[in-house]
């Protein structure tokens, strides 16, 4: 089953990040809307656990938006 943007948005909200909920959409750059480096770490872990995917350190710089996460997961 394909992952949808709302699934990723829910993860980001439930992970307890400081992302501004009003600005959170598929194309918003997460760091620009309040996610700091530790929030991102938390999001990476939640994504890994939920979708059983491995996010390598090399992948991190490419994962900046909900859309990036969708592409990453749906390609796996």
């Amino acid at each position: 089953m394909k992952v949808k943007s709302d699934d990723i948005i829910d993860i980001i909200k439930n992970a307890g990040t400081q992302a501004d909920a009003l600005l959170l959409n598929e194309y918003a750059i997460l760091r620009d809307i309040g996610c700091d480096s530790l929030d991102m770490m938390n999001v990476f872990l939640h994504i890994q656990e939920k979708y059983d995917v491995e996010i390598d350190d090399d992948d991190i710089d490419k994962l900046n938006t909900v859309h990036d996460f969708l592409n990453f997961i749906n390609k796996k």
């Binding site: 530790l38 770490m41 938390n42």
Partner: protein, 308 residues
């Protein structure tokens, strides 16, 4: 019954205020306060070693108890930044500086942030088998000596401190249950290389977030204790973010989880006794202690108020 009687601590005089360093490291005050959780760190003087800091903690301990230094029958010294070159062991230096009797048993335990939990079980077991009445568990790590101050991942986090715990046959708290783990395949996440501490923050975060809740739940299940029965959860104070993560993942009442690294930083094996120090004379019944870090090594135990 052997257990914890009293705890005392020592921090060096020199201190660094993290807010003064925000611009240098390109971080915000909000990040320092609410994520790292460290506003102030103490730094040992250049010639001040783990043994000197331990002496400060023991002096403070002796001022709080009726026991005298001549009553002490063993010292277990937890450190990973040993005195001089690490040979002989730091506890031998401490023995000499305290001018203790030759009958006093002294040895080191080389562990980091799990060291207090392991050390507590080691000294209690050792004293029980040896029929000792009084011993001291020391933790002391001047990590400032191995920090790269160009590395913001570690430079804003770690502080120097030492603690001394009086272990006695007239305890206030005794260990009831414990569980320990090691994962040597993950050791490169937190390692000293060329004299400098290297930390992969993401790997350490994943390790803690994924493994500590499992260990805590296993211990409580094995001990037949519900999470609500525990009066206090004292986690290693790795960072505010890591303790907050454990609160969330375990579904804990945050009022039962002290976060006390604001004025000391992550003090490695001293962080748990520093947090516990304020509760040792309380009326709390069950306290869970959980340490995790270098190794990777993690251990969790429960102490219970001892009633004669």
């Amino acid at each position: 019954m052997i257990g914890i009687k009293e705890i005392a601590s020592y921090v060096p005089d020199e201190r660094i205020l993290n807010f003064d360093k925000c611009d240098h490291y390109g971080v915000t005050r909000d990040f320092v306060k609410n994520k790292i959780g460290v506003l102030k760190r103490h730094i040992a003087e250049e010639n001040e070693s783990c043994v000197d800091m331990a002496l400060g903690a023991i002096k403070s301990l002796m001022s709080k108890v009726d026991t005298t230094i001549d009553d002490i029958e063993c010292i277990v010294f937890v450190t990973q930044t040993p005195h001089a070159e690490g040979l002989p062991h730091s506890s031998a230096y401490l023995h000499g500086k305290l001018d203790l009797h030759s009958s006093v048993a002294c040895f080191d335990v080389s562990l980091g942030c799990s060291g207090y939990v392991y050390g507590l079980n080691i000294i209690c077991g050792f004293m029980n088998e040896s029929k000792f009445k009084n011993g001291i568990l020391v933790t002391s790590d001047p990590y400032s000596k191995i920090i790269d101050y160009n590395d913001k991942n570690t430079a804003l986090l770690f502080g120097d401190a030492a603690t001394a715990t009086l272990i006695s046959d007239k305890p206030r708290f005794v260990i009831t249950d414990s569980v320990y783990s090691t994962d040597g395949t993950g050791l490169s996440s937190l390692i000293k290389s060329n004299g400098i501490l290297k930390m992969n923050g993401r790997e350490v975060f994943n390790f803690v977030a994924q493994n500590i809740p499992i260990q805590v739940k296993k211990l409580l299940k094995d001990a037949n204790i519900s999470i609500d029965q525990v009066d206090l959860f004292v986690f290693h104070q790795g960072s505010k973010f890591i303790v907050d993560t454990l609160v969330k993942r375990l579904g804990l009442d945050s009022s039962k989880v002290p976060i006390v690294l604001e004025n000391t930083g992550n003090t490695v094996s001293s962080s748990i006794p520093l947090a516990l120090e304020g509760y040792i004379n309380s009326e709390l019944d069950l306290i869970l202690l959980s340490g995790f870090g270098v190794g990777l090594s993690w251990g969790t135990l429960i102490i219970k108020k001892y009633k004669v």
